[in-house]
């Protein structure tokens, strides 16, 4: 192809997609229906895979393609499918009221984004004007924001399944950080991490199912027998 990759263009595409990922994360905070939370997670994971593919294309780093493919296949395809089947099996579709109401939650998510930028700023070294440093500047902030908002979502939600989703989006933040800072961790590590995430979702899925069976509810605030 006569098309010459222009790193500047690549950066813009990546920044745009990272922004979309962030918007989705904030939207997930305000979401009441569990199935739509799962779909938001799927779209977010797909975008992350796309970001990885763009980085691979503009930097001729072929090993990132594999990570991108695996991310799309596992996190945008397989995991959401598994989670949706779990939702059908236990028959709970709606999240009960989160601890903090939706408008305030979204405001907090916005504040956490700001915090992400503040933290990421301390890594930014303007003397390094390479494309990568500039790329890291924006996406790292988004990654840290994803991490913090995922953490907040876990604290804020009381359903076992939404806590699992929070943990997964937290992991998405880590993937974005790895891919934007260092063009991904070595492939074998990436494989190991994906395998662990897959097994973790299965383990947590079984646990959610057992909790639902035993307590007749998925509300983790009912898990309060073990106290000093």
């Amino acid at each position: 192809m006569p098309f010459v990759p222009n790193p500047e263009l690549g950066n813009r595409i990546i920044t745009l997609m990272a922004a979309l990922v962030l918007v989705l994360q904030i939207a997930a905070v305000g979401q009441r229906w569990i199935v739509s939370s799962i779909r938001i997670f799927a779209v977010q994971s797909f975008l992350l895979g796309a970001i990885a593919a763009v980085i691979a294309y503009f930097n001729h780093a072929s090993h990132i393609y594999i990570a991108a493919l695996l991310t799309v296949f596992l996190k945008a395809g397989l995991l959401p499918r598994l989670l949706e089947r779990l939702v059908e099996k236990i028959g709970i579709r709606r999240e009960i009221e989160p601890l903090i109401n939706v408008p305030l939650s979204i405001l907090i998510a916005g504040g956490l984004t700001l915090l992400g930028y503040v933290v990421a700023e301390s890594f930014y070294r303007p003397e390094e004007t390479s494309a990568r440093a500039a790329l890291g500047h924006n996406t790292l902030a988004v990654a840290i924001a994803l991490f913090l908002i995922g953490f907040f979502a876990m604290v804020n939600r009381r359903k076992a399944l939404t806590q699992v989703l929070g943990l997964l989006s937290l992991e998405n933040g880590l993937f974005l950080a790895a891919i934007s800072l260092t063009y991904g961790v070595p492939l074998v590590v990436e494989l190991g991490i994906l395998f662990d995430v897959l097994v973790a979702v299965m383990v947590l899925g079984i646990l959610v199912f057992r909790i639902r069976e035993t307590f007749d509810s998925m509300d983790v605030s009912k898990l309060r027998k073990l106290r000093e």
Binding site: A61, E171, T182, V189, I193, L207, V220, L226
Partner: protein, 499 residues
């Protein structure tokens, strides 16, 4: 080659047990696998003592004295626990607890036992992989693997409380480990400029350790904080310790003993690897202060809970929080003395803690309760062997003089004084004294006193000999450490201090 065998043996033993039908066969496979594993671990130690490090597959697997020590301790704990497990589960089967657990879980037959004998080798496999992985990313994957394999151990009995404990364990562990992963990625990033490679070797510890002085300092600082929080959660350091009492009191005894020793060693091992990198990059000062704060906090948090504890299984968990605090504190004091104290403590802890769990397990199986209040004391009359061992191991675990913990804690105290931390040493000693008195009062009340007229407990050989055998090892270790073991610990100290 030996590195590969260390991983293959437990990896085969787990799935093999899955396909076996009879209890006896599962027990034989489990015991044989762990006995072979201990032999291999001893061979690895011999090899490491001869030639400083062993590596395989272009440095993908790598073992030096520090990893060999952790492998040896993991294999020892695995074997001891599997010997006890035979007696423990036979007793559970006889008394009908397993059937109950199966009904709650909706499964029948020997499934529960198969679950245990399949998962523990996989659990041990992850522990060995933690020690042998050179790549810090693989190290993380393996530590996460220990969590995933052990969640099922925590929910083994399928009670409401077990599910709650397992949920807490999985979620708190998951969040903690995601922080550790972030820290690992940031370490990779801080090394990126210095190494300039994006091949596999970029995350290899043996490569990183040589270049740590040139890492990007602000990034490394944040990375170490995240690693400390992450692996600290796994080691059960306050304030991330809340999963520990629940998980330890719900898991079956042999599983809980492995959690309390093996997983703790793995988490601390990960922490030590990053501590070495961070000291080389930032100087020891930065990590020291953080470690001292978290270590002392953990010991302090354990004190009130030990003093007023009503449940003897939770008491063991708080004792474990106390011990992980001591080890982190020792790492914080640093210097050859501090590190020596820490590694000695780790060794003694791995030998002593299982016996404490076994005694508690025997008492629980006999009385069918884990509350002090319902136990009424006088256990020495109905179970003389367990009672005596329980008292002895209590003295050992709280650091009384004839036993080995006294040596390690004294070494740590010397490290504190030589580092000039006089006030901290005062707090350290007073916490230890409080824990000693609280622990001893609880266990003495349980074991000594008038005969409440309980029937004498029956103990099968498996339970009896695992208790007696470990007790002998503990007493001997109070006076004599085998020279090769001490040599191994000393060269591990050399790696941490000087590298």
């Amino acid at each position: 080659m030996i590195l590969l065998w260390l991983l293959i043996v437990p990896l085969i033993a787990g799935p093999l047990a899955f396909f076996l039908r009879r209890r006896l066969m599962m027990e034989v496979v489990n015991l044989a696998a762990f006995a072979i594993l201990l032999g291999l671990a001893a061979a690895l130690v011999a090899q490491v003592l001869r030639s400083d490090s062993v590596s395989l597959w272009n440095g993908f697997f790598y073992a030096d004295a520090l990893s060999a020590l952790v492998v040896l301790l993991s294999a020892f704990v695995a074997l001891v626990c599997s010997i006890y497990a035979v007696g423990y589960f036979r007793h559970e089967e006889r008394s009908g607890v397993l059937q109950e657990a199966e009904e709650v879980g909706g499964r029948f037959g020997v499934h529960k036992l198969r679950e245990y004998y399949t998962l523990t080798p996989l659990f041990v496999f992850s522990m060995i992989l933690v020690a042998l992985a050179n790549n810090l990313g693989i190290l993380w994957v393996a530590i996460e693997g220990t969590t995933l394999a052990s969640v099922f151990l925590v929910m083994f009995y399928g009670r409401e409380t077990s599910l709650e404990a397992a949920w807490k364990y999985a979620i708190i562990g998951g969040v903690g480990l995601s922080m550790a992963l972030f820290g690992t990625i940031l370490t990779y990033y801080s090394a990126y400029g210095a190494l300039g490679t994006d091949t596999l070797a970029g995350l290899n510890w043996s490569v990183l350790a040589g270049n740590a002085a040139h890492f990007d300092k602000p990034t490394m600082r944040l990375a170490f904080i995240l690693i400390l929080l992450g692996y600290g959660t796994k080691a059960g350091i306050a304030p991330m310790h809340t999963w520990k009492p629940d998980a330890y009191s719900e898991a079956p005894i042999p599983g809980a003993a492995m959690l309390a020793t093996g997983v703790l060693n793995c988490a601390l091992y990960g922490l030590v690897r990053f501590y070495i990198l961070s000291s080389k990059c930032l100087g020891p000062q930065f990590s020291s202060h953080l470690l001292i704060i978290f270590g002392l906090l953990s010991i302090g948090v354990a004190v009130p809970f030990i003093l007023v504890q009503k449940n003897f299984r939770r008491l063991l968990a708080y004792s474990s929080i106390d011990h992980s605090g001591i080890m982190v504190l020792a790492l914080g004091f640093g210097g050859p003395l501090g590190i020596l104290g820490m590694l000695l403590h780790m060794t003694f802890h791995s030998v002593t803690k299982p016996l404490l769990f076994f005694c508690a397990g025997n008492v629980q199986q006999h009385l069918k309760t884990d509350l002090f209040q319902k136990a009424k004391g006088g256990l020495i009359h109905s179970m003389p062997l367990t009672g005596a061992a329980f008292l002895m191991v209590t003295l050992a675990v709280t650091g009384s003089p004839p036993f080995s913990f006294f040596q390690s804690e004294f070494t740590i105290l010397r490290a504190a004084f030589s580092g000039g931390y006089f006030v901290l040493a005062f707090f350290f000693v007073s916490f230890l004294v409080l824990i000693f008195s609280g622990f001893l009062v609880h266990i003495a009340n349980l074991v000594l006193g008038e005969d409440p007229g309980l029937p004498r407990a029956e103990m099968c050989g498996w339970k009896k000999y695992s208790v007696v055998g470990l007790a002998v090892v503990i007493v001997v270790m109070g006076f004599w450490i085998p020279a090769p073991l001490f040599g191994l610990i000393q060269s591990a100290v050399g790696i941490v201090v000087g590298g």
